[in-house]
């Protein structure tokens, strides 16, 4: 089994259990939206029985790899092809040319949907379907694995919800967190980088600082690879701190798998709230 990201791989393993071998394509801790496939990735896919992708225009490079691999089983529409976003309720679907300050370049919706732990149910559902198609002999076991995993996750979600009950208003460098925000009722007052790769203008920064002060923003959220300077700049002027969150498994050493990824982010935000 091949997944495009390490967090999807972790969910694949949660369903597949010990019986399956899984790998991921985007190296852990790298920005998936700027990934360039490597030579061995084609080989990995041509040997795979199931390929799981993020979809929502996040891993468009995978289409070329699938074509190149010539593996009909995992091509679009094949029994081993899984678009993990299939059953997810997508946020921030764009309706042409809305004004500035709206965050993402993804017209089809924000692709960071795995950051809502409730969406793990939809993602693992899609994975389970493919596993049952490819390997019907073990379908029962996969289903049991998934049910157990979702049960454990549910207990975790209750704990996480309690931890984030009184989370303060936040601001983010890139619009990576709407799903996390929706699940745990977090308020993101603004986004620093409104167009991917374009640094903020002075007027936009000034407006963010003003909005941040007014709303009492306590933390500026950035990912490890996002510019520290810009986040520090706003944090200093709003009297907030900078919190480094992980959007994927491996982005920080503590995020070893799907559950510890969400756990790391929640704990980091809860520490801000308790300050």
């Amino acid at each position: 089994m091949v997944a495009s990201t390490a967090e999807l791989e972790s969910l694949v393993l949660a369903v597949g259990g010990d019986g399956i071998a899984a790998s991921h394509l985007i190296p852990a801790g790298q920005d998936g939206e700027t990934f360039q496939p490597r030579a061995q990735d084609v080989a990995r896919i041509s040997e795979a029985n199931v390929v799981v992708r993020v979809g929502v225009d996040y891993d468009l490079w995978l289409d070329a790899l699938l074509r190149q691999s010539g593996n009909a089983a995992v091509e679009r529409g094949g029994p081993g092809y899984v678009d993990a976003s299939t059953y997810v309720a997508l946020l921030d679907v764009r309706a042409g040319g809305v004004g500035p300050g709206d965050g993402h370049a993804h017209g089809r919706g924000n692709p960071h949907y795995w950051l809502d732990p409730a969406n793990a149910e939809m993602i693992t559902g899609a994975i389970l379907e493919a596993l049952a198609r490819v390997d019907p002999a073990h379908a029962k076991r996969y289903e049991a694995n998934r049910t157990r995993f979702l049960g454990e996750l549910e207990a975790k979600v209750r704990e996480w919800t309690r931890l984030l009950e009184h989370a303060p208003p936040l601001m983010a460098y890139h619009d990576t967190w709407p799903y996390l925000a929706r699940r745990f009722r977090l308020r993101f007052v603004g986004i620093v980088e409104t167009r991917p790769g374009v640094a903020a203008s002075p007027a936009h920064l000034a407006q963010l600082v003003a909005a941040g002060k007014e709303a009492g923003v306590k933390a500026i959220v950035r990912e490890p690879w996002e510019p520290a300077r810009d986040a520090d700049f706003i944090a200093q002027r709003c009297g907030a701190t900078v919190v480094v969150l992980a959007s994927g498994v491996g982005a920080v050493p503590q995020a070893r798998d799907y559950v510890s990824l969400i756990d790391y982010d929640v704990q980091a935000l809860a520490r801000v709230g308790s300050r």
């Binding site: 190296p27 790298q30 309720a89 946020l91 925000a181 300077r229 810009d230 700049f233």
Partner: protein, 413 residues
């Protein structure tokens, strides 16, 4: 409140400091004909910081800086020692190879060290707008030391010697490593080359070139910062473009210097003929393919929207206006829906998944409807252009003719 002056004071100071040191090195870089050396050295420094991370040092700590500086000095030694080849292989080629190899090697290392990619980015993607006083203080101190020591040292060394080259690349490497982290590669390149080029265009001695470079560079920075604030544009990119324009203006001024009157008249004639040519080509283009992009006609309509009514009749204009209004309404309705959903994430009662899915499909439909209305606007315009293609083309050709032969309408020019 955030007035522009307090917001842009630190970036302006940073620009002045960066111009001061880079204009000086830029003049040397132009003389040595190694314009891309800054990119190569910055990339090598980033490689050094990545290696520091790989072997277990904290990012942005003293060890990381030491690694970056060490790698830069090694690259300086390499560049200085390979000068003997430059009769056969130009130095610029060697610089290019150092750049691509450093960039590629960093990628390979990142593959081995998870969480490593960020350090390359932090080193190469400074942002002049959010520069902090803490960093700037150190950078200014470094520039002051290098600016004081290097010229004295350079005078004592034999310019043809290996040592002289090494001193230059080492001093410049230290400066560039710190400045790229402050301002990013694009802007540092502009700071390095453009003021120096303006100086060389307008003076012959090093001293005069340097003074002109300082004045032109600092003034351009201030204008660029002001534009970036007023027009709400990304500061680094605005500054780089401002430098491009400044070099163009400097080139024009240079071309017009001297026998001003005759040259000015010649330039005016040239500009007029250029404009006439543009209009003539546009006229023919409209006749040939009225539905294609018509940049000149579009530009005229953007400046004078009522120009449309010259060739689109009232009913068609009304249709297009109605479509525009619908598109605007759909846009605001979609925006309101989006806002409601994003508010509900933290405020009021949460919206269930089913409702979120419905909102998403509504937004998609709005998108289609807006596109439909935009299609109507374009289609109405294209049909009118097709119907009046010969009249429009003739008007453009007439304007072109009037511009090329002023004597048709004036007794004497």
């Amino acid at each position: 409140m955030w007035d522009p002056v307090s917001f842009l004071a630190l970036p302006a100071l940073a620009c002045a400091a960066l111009v001061a040191i880079h204009a000086y090195f830029g003049l040397h870089v132009l003389r040595r004909n190694v314009v891309f050396v800054d990119l190569a050295l910055a990339q090598v420094a980033a490689l050094g910081a990545t290696v520091a991370f790989l072997v277990g040092h904290a990012p942005q700590g003293a060890a990381a800086h030491a690694y970056a500086a060490g790698f830069t000095l090694a690259a300086a030694a390499l560049l200085a020692s390979s000068r003997s080849w430059s009769a056969r292989v130009p130095q610029e080629a060697q610089i290019g190879v150092i750049y691509v190899v450093a960039a590629a090697a960093a990628l390979l290392i990142v593959d081995r060290a998870p969480q490593g990619a960020e350090h390359i980015r932090q080193i190469l993607t400074g942002n002049i707008l959010t520069v902090g006083w803490d960093e700037l203080r150190w950078a200014i101190a470094l520039y002051a030391i290098v600016g004081a020591v290097y010229p004295v040292l350079a005078r004592r060394l034999d310019p043809a010697s290996w040592r002289s080259d090494f001193a230059f690349y080492a001093a410049f490497g230290l400066v560039v490593t710190s400045s790229v982290a402050l301002a990013g590669v694009l802007l540092v390149f502009a700071f390095l080359i453009v003021p120096a080029a303006i100086g060389v265009l307008h003076a012959d001695t090093f001293r005069r070139q340097l003074v002109i470079a300082w004045i032109a560079g600092t003034a351009t920075s201030l204008v660029g910062l002001a534009i970036s604030y007023a027009a709400d544009l990304s500061t680094g990119a605005t500054l780089v473009c401002a430098y491009g324009v400044a070099l163009m203006i400097a080139g024009l001024v240079r071309a017009l210097r001297g026998a001003a009157r005759a040259r000015l008249a010649a330039a005016g004639r040239g500009a007029r003929l250029l404009l006439a040519g543009l209009l003539a080509v546009s006229g023919l283009w409209i006749v040939a393919s009225p539905a294609a992009d018509q940049p000149v006609l579009d530009a005229i309509e953007r400046v004078v929207p009522s120009a449309r009514s010259l060739y689109i009749d009232d009913t068609a204009l009304a249709t297009a206006n109605e479509a525009r209004q619908y598109a605007a309404r759909y846009r605001s309705e979609a925006e309101a829906l989006r806002k409601r959903e994003s508010e509900s994430r933290w405020n009021g009662s949460p919206i269930p998944d089913e409702e979120v899915r419905r909102i998403a499909s509504f937004l998609k439909s709005y998108n289609e409807m807006i596109r439909g209305e935009e299609f109507v606007v374009r289609e109405v315009r294209n049909r009118a252009r097709a119907a009046h293609r010969f009249a429009l083309g003739a008007a453009f050709l007439l304007a072109a003719a009037l511009l090329s032969w002023p004597r048709l309408y004036a007794s004497r020019t």
